[in-house]
């Protein structure tokens, strides 16, 4: 039932704990992570496939980039009026990206990107007081994006990528039924997503020698699961009629559209500054609804409201080319949460987040270089009643430490 495409990949590679707003994972290029994940308004090398296909036609060489981050997030939770703090043990996940770009001629460049812009991996364990809402979620999405970019003039590049997306979701909850020994039941929803389609279009304009501007739009993609497995464990015989074996589920999760506007400014030969603002169309996520083929807990539907708000992300970044070989980078961003008060959930205990990053690039030769980055994300402490989302009330606080490494080969 899982997508065949997905089965080709080691699944451990795909999961990314959502450390941007909602379940977005903004870790698309090691060079750009170092610069606060800016990149819409500048030519970023092969990763322009993601940041702005319009800028891809401005790259000077063919290139291949492969990179990944080691994302380790920590989430603490404390119920109101309690003195006990629970920490989610999320392990380390590895969002990755692979880009290849090839200059067909001076004007036309083609490329392929594979990246993981959405995902979530949270493991609260089976003992915490919110386990009836969630004990573990693993949401994976992977995008394949063949891209063409055309240099309309010396100053203007336009590009479009066609996105083919797939993914998988696994969600586990404890059921509030206990057998004669006191063991609690469990439910697991496991399913692969159908292939979804979208676009990534961008325009890049090198206004002056120093000043550039770009705009990029990545469309919404619906991640749809059909015929996913519903598995029950430890359900007492007396309650089994409520949790029938062989049940399947379907669900749909929107991966929202993102519109970004970016500026670039070359202060001098060494120093490049960049700034981006992104609008993420989170309002597409109105509710999380599971349809079951047989009644589960007495109902064919499990639906809880999400009612996300659209959100903005503000980014700044800089790169300083110390010499021919070494580049130093730094950046920061502010990422608004799409989750309204009363709608917090343990699968995405989201809050406005602040990220600071640093990175280095080192060129071993004209052909071969590496980029390394380090990103620290600190989400604001947030207390929520979760009254509308059927979530878990209390206070959440998240931080993440994300080192990453990429290899570039130019030819």
């Amino acid at each position: 039932m899982k997508s065949k495409l997905l089965a080709l990949f080691g699944s451990a590679l795909l999961s990314g704990t959502a450390m941007a707003g909602g379940y977005q994972v903004n870790l698309a290029s090691q060079r750009q992570i170092g610069m606060g994940h800016t990149g819409t308004g500048i030519e970023t090398g092969t990763s322009s496939i993601f940041f702005n296909p319009g800028a891809m036609s401005f790259i000077r060489q063919n290139g291949i980039t492969i990179g990944a981050s080691a994302l380790s997030s920590k989430i603490a939770y404390k119920p109101s009026e309690s003195n006990i703090t629970t920490e989610a043990d999320n392990g380390i996940s590895t969002p990755f990206h692979v880009y290849g770009a090839y200059k067909v001629d001076d004007l036309l460049t083609v490329g392929l990107g594979v990246y993981t812009p959405f995902g979530s991996g949270v493991n609260w364990g089976t003992e915490w007081n919110g386990r009836f809402g969630l004990n573990e979620i693993d949401l994976k999405a992977i995008f394949f994006q063949p891209t063409v970019s055309y240099k309309v003039s010396d100053k203007l590049g336009l590009g479009v990528g066609f996105v083919v997306a797939t993914g998988a979701v696994n969600l586990q909850r404890v059921l509030p039924v206990q057998n004669a020994q006191g063991a609690e039941g469990g439910i697991e929803l496991d399913g692969g997503a159908k292939t979804g389609f979208g676009v990534n279009v961008g325009a890049f304009f090198q206004a002056t020698e120093k000043f550039s501007i770009g705009i990029d739009y990545r469309s919404k993609i619906e991640l749809e699961v059909e015929g996913g497995d519903v598995l029950f464990t430890n359900v007492p015989a007396a309650a089994r009629g409520n949790f029938p074996e062989g049940t399947e589920f379907s669900a749909m999760l929107p991966l929202p559209a993102t519109l970004s506007l970016g500026l670039g400014y070359k202060v001098n030969e060494q120093l490049t500054l960049a700034a981006d603002v992104s609008h993420v169309g989170w309002s597409a996520y109105e509710s999380l609804r599971f349809n079951f083929t047989q009644p589960v807990g007495g109902s064919n539907v499990s639906e809880s409201a999400r009612n996300y708000d659209d959100a903005f992300i503000y980014r700044i970044g800089a790169e300083y080319q110390l010499n021919d070989k070494l580049a130093l980078r730094a950046g920061a961003y502010y990422d608004q949460t799409p989750v309204q008060d009363g709608y917090l959930t343990p699968e995405t205990p989201d809050a406005d987040s602040r990220g600071i990053s640093g990175g280095i690039g080192y060129a071993f030769s004209d052909k071969f270089s590496v980029d390394a980055s380090f990103l620290y994300i600190n989400k604001k402490e947030r207390t929520d009643t979760a009254e509308f989302s059927r979530g878990v009330s209390g206070t959440f606080k998240s931080v993440a430490y994300i080192p990453g490494l990429a290899l570039n080969y130019n030819f």
Partner: protein, 434 residues
């Protein structure tokens, strides 16, 4: 190149792991006892206080009694040791209790008595009350199943004698037949416990006994309730001028013992069978049932019985009405409600006079009649599936007792400027299913 990639990524991974030791922290106020001295917390009350559940007192229920939960939370704020008259592990099933072993039909659970590993050590002088394993060490939980406010000053209430006695009180008293031994009135035992802080949840049985017997056992007279209440409060506040919380009496109609066999529904079944439901009322008169009568959980309503030459469901014929003891009829409900209001007024006045916290459990249980959800779990006063009430439909599950404990903590915190942390109720079980 491969090697380089491997080395660097391992380095990055190691750096990442090093940094992840910096965990997120959530600041919170430190637990504090405020104006309270929690060194010697004493709990007085009846079966609810003892941890009675599933129609019995047994070790699991004792360990999860609401006073035990409170004491566990008090320990974060300077609370002292809390001793309970626990049954030993070998005698862990105490008085015996009911276990849910199946369902004869979706609406009729099969409840099987547990008869092994009991703490029953003999038969009382009255020939009907089993004696329980004695526990003579000093204790903080003085919850005595069955005790009424009416009983607290009765000498010999715990004395094994042919006229009858309370075995749960008997087991914590010495055997010497003296006014300070086996004859000691409960209120004196309470006074001797010398609390620095107390909770008192007493008075339920003064109306509940009447209600669960379908109006046959008496309701405690108002003046008896008052004088015994005064004696209890004086004993508890004592020379220490102890602070404490008085917990009032919930409405019996909020309890599944009276609501599970829903009268209106059974009347509909009778109507569908082209007959009516008949009962014997308080004055021993046979009449048609009304929706405002409460049929007890223990009633055999609907069981086919031979009437003349026909098999007719019990209660569905004027010749086979529900007995007085199977129904709390409209007039009896009114009597219970009036007495509950009266007793609760007295409890409130006592709390106010001594400036004690009053925990309004009556309002709390009324507020949850329609059910509520907490952390993704639905709770309601529904038998078995409501998660709150145990298999006797009157007493709570450990989860229910934990919810009650949190309600008490909220009141204590606000009355005494304390900051005692609430307990995670999900760590306590609800009804176990076969």
């Amino acid at each position: 190149m491969k090697k380089f990639f491997y080395k660097s990524s391992m380095l990055a991974l190691a750096a990442g792991m090093l940094l992840t030791s910096c965990d997120p922290e959530i600041d919170s106020a430190n637990p504090s006892s405020g104006e309270l001295n929690l060194e010697n917390y004493v709990a007085v009350g009846n079966s609810l206080t003892a941890g009675y559940q599933d129609n019995g007192l047994y070790l699991e229920g004792q360990l999860n009694s609401y006073p035990a939960i409170l004491a566990q939370q008090f320990a974060f704020a300077g609370g002292g040791e809390f001793k309970q008259p626990l049954f030993s592990d070998a005698q862990r099933n105490g008085s015996g209790y009911l276990r849910l072993t199946g369902f004869a039909s979706p609406t009729s659970p099969t409840l099987t008595p547990v008869r092994e590993n009991l703490a029953v050590v003999g038969m009382g002088q009255d020939g009907k009350t089993p004696l329980l394993a004695p526990y003579l060490e000093p204790i903080n939980n003085l919850g005595i199943p069955g005790i009424r406010m009416a009983d607290v000053s009765t000498p010999g209430y715990g004395f094994n004698n042919p006229m009858g006695f309370n075995p749960y009180y008997e087991r914590i008293l010495p055997d010497d037949v003296t006014p300070t031994g086996a004859l000691l009135p409960y209120v004196n035992r309470v006074a001797a416990s010398n609390p620095t802080f107390f909770t008192m949840w007493l008075g339920n049985n003064d109306v509940l006994g009447y209600a669960t017997s379908g109006g046959i056992a008496p309701i405690t007279p108002s003046n008896t309730f008052q004088s015994n209440l005064d004696a209890m409060v004086n004993a508890l506040v004592g020379q220490n001028a102890a602070k404490g919380a008085i917990i009032n009496i919930p409405d019996v109609t909020a309890v599944p013992f009276f609501t599970t066999k829903a009268t209106a529904q059974i009347m509909q079944s009778a109507a569908a069978a082209k007959t009516k439901l008949y009962i014997i009322d308080k004055d021993n008169q046979m009449r048609e049932a009304k929706a405002t009568d409460y049929i007890l959980l223990t009633s055999t309503v609907g069981t086919p019985e031979t009437v003349g030459t026909n098999q007719i469901p019990h209660g569905f014929s004027p010749f086979n009405p529900l007995a007085n003891s199977e129904v709390l009829d409209e007039a009896e409900v009114a009597a219970v409600k009036a007495a509950t209001v009266d007793f609760n007024n007295k409890l409130a006045a006592a709390a106010q006079a001594k400036n004690l916290a009053l925990v309004d459990m009556n309002t709390f249980f009324n507020s949850i009649k329609g059910g509520f959800a907490q952390n993704g779990v639905a709770y309601s006063p529904t038998f078995i599936t409501g998660n709150l009430f145990s298999l006797d439909a009157v007493h709570l599950t450990p989860r229910g007792y934990a919810i009650v404990a949190n309600e008490i903590i909220k009141n204590i915190n606000s009355k005494y400027n304390a900051s005692i942390p609430q307990v995670d109720v999900t760590q306590y079980r609800a009804v176990l299913l076969p």
